[in-house]
């Protein structure tokens, strides 16, 4: 029977007081830790998905919306831009641009977004193939790790995309089914949540939907299309459908060395650029130098001089942080308030028990306990309450993170980690101990000062 054990027995001897103190304390600590966990993970997600992208070019509209849509895939597109307008930024050899990735959005499968793009997107997010191969042309798809896990799609399987991002609307494209050709390794970035297909595949799917006419015959004209570098040929067949099977009719038109399957749309940037009449959603741009003056001015120039909109992710995301910041600040103050109230409840419960326990405290003194023993005893009781509250609070915060993660992983296109220890939890433990000590110091001093003669004379 030492002081710690005695303190423990005293704490558990009054379950209702214990419950009240622990619940309040756990709420305070739990809420604070949940906010920190959420904040860390969201920030981590946003940072990871920044992927050193310096500029996003898309249709005019809200720049933040454009960033959220094209980099985080959590908002709708601002609109589309024509390949013709996008061409200057996609063409290789731009003096300021290191890498530009065209994106075509608009379809989804089981609420995972289908992104028409080329292989350069993998370089942004360090994507690597885990199984199968990369998408090349036609209706081939390579899917992110999370997509594979959640939808159960595997190599060789076919799936039908639906128009828009909302799975509940029945807007399936009946005609076109994509074939899973490859699955990517997990990257921890938004890439895990995407279904990657050739840019042209998006057009094909949509041309079918928009125009049910079978135009195979006419398609022959455009189908011999691999005029690489011929930027003008596109307008000859604006109206025409680009479906794969067209080419079975026109073997003669084939240009030397090109295989039928490969040359429909081989998903090269040249192929994309050759279709000026077509549209894409956006371009993700990395600059050669982030400090280059001209590069830094590029978004403004684009916004002022073209029909396109350009935005810097870093600026927009910071704007977002500062907007959300107001809300999280409010919750943080609320959590601090709860933490204060929980400290107060420990104080009141201990202080009240001092009155009830003054005889037994005096008795301990008679039995040989010193004033300091009593001081330590009461401090220990406060600390025990704080530690229990802390542990319960931390568990609660992770449970909340688990629930929130499940709810938000769809919305935010991000797998939240619920059961990893947050880096602030040790700090919170320290904070809890301080709070417990502060709450119990006055009762402890009262115990220290107990006048045993007075108390026992009256008893």
């Amino acid at each position: 029977m030492n002081l710690l054990k005695l303190a423990w027995r005293n704490v558990i001897t009054n379950p209702l007081n214990l419950l009240l103190s622990v619940v309040l304390f756990a709420l305070g600590i739990g809420l604070i830790n949940f906010l920190l966990l959420l904040n860390d993970q969201l920030k981590d997600k946003f940072d990871k998905n920044l992927a050193e992208i310096d500029m996003v070019i898309g249709a005019k509209g809200s720049p933040l919306q454009m960033i959220l849509c094209n980099m985080y895939h959590i908002d709708n597109p601002t609109g589309n831009i024509s390949v013709k307008n996008a061409k200057p930024f996609l063409r290789p050899g731009h003096p300021l641009i290191k890498r530009s990735v065209p994106l075509s959005l608009g379809d989804s499968y089981k609420s995972f977004r289908i992104v028409g793009t080329n292989h350069s997107i993998l370089e942004l997010y360090n994507g690597e193939i885990a199984e199968g191969k990369l998408w090349t042309g036609g209706l081939e798809a390579t899917i992110g790790a999370a997509v594979a896990e959640e939808t159960g799609l595997s190599l060789g399987q076919q799936f039908v995309s639906s128009h828009g991002f909302d799975d509940e609307l029945d807007m399936t494209h009946d005609h076109a089914s994509f074939t899973v050709k490859g699955i990517l390794k997990p990257t921890g970035s938004v890439l895990d949540q995407l279904i990657l297909v050739p840019s042209a595949a998006i057009w094909e799917v949509h041309d079918h939907s928009e125009d049910e006419l079978d135009v195979h015959g006419e398609a022959e004209e455009h189908a011999g299309h691999n005029h690489k570098g011929d930027e003008h040929h596109g307008h000859h067949h604006q109206e025409h459908d680009h479906s794969e099977h067209d080419h079975h009719h026109h073997g003669d038109h084939d240009h030397g060395g090109h295989h039928h399957e490969a040359h429909v749309h081989d998903n090269t940037i040249e192929d994309l650029l050759s279709h000026e009449d077509k549209e894409i959603t956006s371009i993700l741009v990395q600059f050669k130098s982030r400090t280059n003056f001209q590069a830094l001015n590029m978004p403004r120039n684009i916004n002022e001089n073209t029909d396109l909109q350009a935005a810097s992710p870093a600026i927009e995301i910071n704007r977002l942080y500062s907007m959300i910041g107001v809300g999280t600040d409010a919750i943080r103050y609320l959590a601090l308030l709860i933490a204060f109230v929980s400290g107060l409840s420990i104080f009141i419960s201990l202080y009240k028990s001092m009155r009830e326990r003054k005889y037994e405290l005096s008795l301990m003194r008679v039995s040989g306990a010193s004033r300091s023993n009593l001081l330590v005893l009461i401090l220990l009781e406060g600390l025990i309450l704080a530690v229990i509250g802390f542990v319960v609070g931390i568990v609660l915060s992770h449970v909340a993170m688990q629930i929130a993660g499940n709810v938000m992983s769809d919305t935010y296109r991000y797998q939240f980690v619920a059961w990893e220890m947050g880096k602030n939890e040790l700090v919170l433990l320290g904070l809890s101990l301080v709070l417990g000590a502060v709450a119990s110091i006055i009762p402890a001093i009262k115990a220290f000062k107990t006048d045993i003669h007075q108390t026992l004379s009256k008893g």
Binding site: M1, N2, L6, R9, N10, I12, T13, R357, Y359, E360, S362, L363, M364, R365, V366, S367, G368, A369, S370, R371, S372, N373, I452, H453, L456, S457, G459
Partner: protein
């Protein structure tokens, strides 16, 4: 074993107590009688080192209580003086035997569970050792208090009105238990009371006036 020299105590200005010198040897008994308000409890608290007298000295086991500092006095008291108060108080969160073990612990002794069990057995409490103290009857509480006062084998046992709440039968029983236990460890037993029934039981008496 217990010796006092010209003890004085005062509460403010109006109440001043001058106590007669007291002497009590190891293994012997002393009854201190007096009316209410005469300073009986005050004297007992001075003897037990719960308060310092305004004048005079108390020697327990030839040690002057005035010579100890606060924490030293607590330790000395815990190890050498067992006190029984008018009312029975226990550490509520602990059961019967744990209350005894805690008393051992605070006195600086090693806790000895067998010793505690032995004493509780002798006091007919062997079947109540795991009970909460608040579930005990008054008589049982009194016996636990006695057990607690002797667990550390003190040299001096002080009892403040140990019989005031008891009927004749239990009064006699408690006092004889107390005597037995004091005898067993050769402690000096000092009982402070206004209870005239005890006059016939303990012949060695001092009357406060």
């Amino acid at each position: 074993m217990l010796k006092t020299e010209s003890l004085k105590y005062s509460y403010g200005n109006n109440q001043t107590f001058d106590f007669p010198d007291i002497h009590c040897d190891a293994g012997s008994k002393l009854l201190i009688l007096g009316k209410s308000g005469i300073g009986k409890s005050t004297l007992l608290h001075i003897l037990g080192g719960l308060i310092k007298p305004k004048g005079g000295n108390v020697y327990v086991d030839n040690k002057n209580l005035n010579s100890f500092s606060g924490a030293q006095l607590d330790k000395f008291r815990g190890a050498n003086i067992g006190i029984i108060f008018q009312r029975n108080h226990f550490v509520r969160s602990l059961n019967v035997i744990e209350n005894l073990l805690l008393t051992q612990k605070f006195s600086g002794e090693k806790t000895d569970r067998n010793e505690a069990l032995h004493i509780l057995d002798k006091l007919d409490l062997g079947h109540k050792i795991y009970n909460k103290t608040e579930d005990l009857s008054e008589g049982e509480k009194q016996r636990v208090t006695i057990a607690r006062s002797v667990i550390n084998k003190p040299k001096l046992i002080l009892a403040d009105e140990p019989s005031s709440a008891l009927d004749d039968f239990n009064c006699e029983k408690v006092i004889s238990l107390l005597e037995e236990q004091a005898q067993a460890i050769n402690a000096a037993l000092v009982v402070v009371t206004h209870d005239a029934r005890l006059k016939d039981i303990i012949p060695n008496q001092i009357v406060l006036s």
